[in-house]
Amino acid sequence: MGAAVASLALSRSALAAEPADADQLARLLALERSLAAAYEAALARDAIEPALGKLLLGHEREHVRGLEQTLGRRAPAQADTPQIALDFANRRTFAHSALELERTTVDTYRDVLTTFHNDRLLQPLGSIMACGAQHEVALRRVLGEDLL
């Protein structure tokens, strides 16, 4: 876990030479911040089972930290508002909307990884994407859906 964050941070200097990469990372950071805010709010409103909510929130915070360290001063101060409305009415509706946001985030990682320039960041970013893909399984489990 620490190694992945370190890999992200170590590549900061290389990132300075690739402004397009920084823009892509800012897109990812906005989504990760949205996910962290979503799980935080869901925990506060009892819209997610506490143990799962804390686990997923902890992961999102690690992702945010890694991306912020990599971007350094280029990290945007605030996240853009996600285009997905989150529904905190109950645990089921929240799981549905969180699943959609996780899917959007994983799709964005795949998009970014295809065109990203900095080779040193590809594997750490892939490891975050893979975690997001696993979050989808965790949320489908909550919904009682097929896991795959």
Partner: protein, 181 residues
């Protein structure tokens, strides 16, 4: 203190070794693709996927109910993955490695006595597959190759999540899914 060698630990170590031999034992393409095209790495992944297809058949045998159903589904996904990566090798002018016989693979797998053994082997297998695709992301030179490997890496991470869940743990236990060698 002397570390204790448990049966489960021994099984996991054996699985890692046998899977390494499955993925890396096939010769690289001898003609066609240019050096540095990614064909060699992609061929290694195809060979690993062939082993995974055979492994999931073995893993499914002691499983029951939902676990057995997921073993069948994941095996089907590995078949699709093998074909997609083999297509990338062909696009480079290479010939993807052929599958071996079921008996050849069976000799290389650890003994699977019960459901716990099966899920332990499945976890090791999926960890290795995740790692192979993430390494591919770093090393493959072409955007189309990266697009396919990133998609499959995400799918493999989900297969691993299902194995975690079937074993009774959280589907997503770690914030960074790096896989293992």
């Amino acid at each position: 203190m002397q570390p204790a060698l448990t049966r489960r630990g021994a099984l996991g170590g054996a699985a890692a070794l046998t899977l390494a031999s499955c993925g890396g034992g096939d010769p690289p393409p001898t003609s066609g693709p240019r050096a540095g095209s990614g064909a060699g790495l992609l061929s290694s992944i195809v060979a690993l996927e062939h082993a995974a297809i055979a492994a999931w058949a073995a893993i499914g045998e002691p499983l029951r109910g939902d676990a057995r159903r997921y073993a069948r589904i994941i095996r089907g996904r590995e078949i699709d993955n093998a074909e997609r990566v083999a297509d990338l090798v062909r696009k480079l002018g290479g010939t993807p490695p052929q599958t071996r016989t079921a008996e050849d693979y069976a000799r290389l797998f650890p003994r699977i006595g019960d459901e716990a053994d099966a899920l332990h082997f499945a976890r090791d297998l999926e960890e290795r597959l995740v790692r192979a695709y993430l390494e591919g992301l770093r090393l493959l030179p072409d955007a189309d190759q990266r697009r396919v490997t990133s998609q499959i890496a995400a799918d493999q991470a989900q297969d691993l999540a299902v194995v975690h869940a079937l074993a009774g743990g959280p589907a997503a236990p770690q914030p960074f899914v790096t896989g293992t060698l």
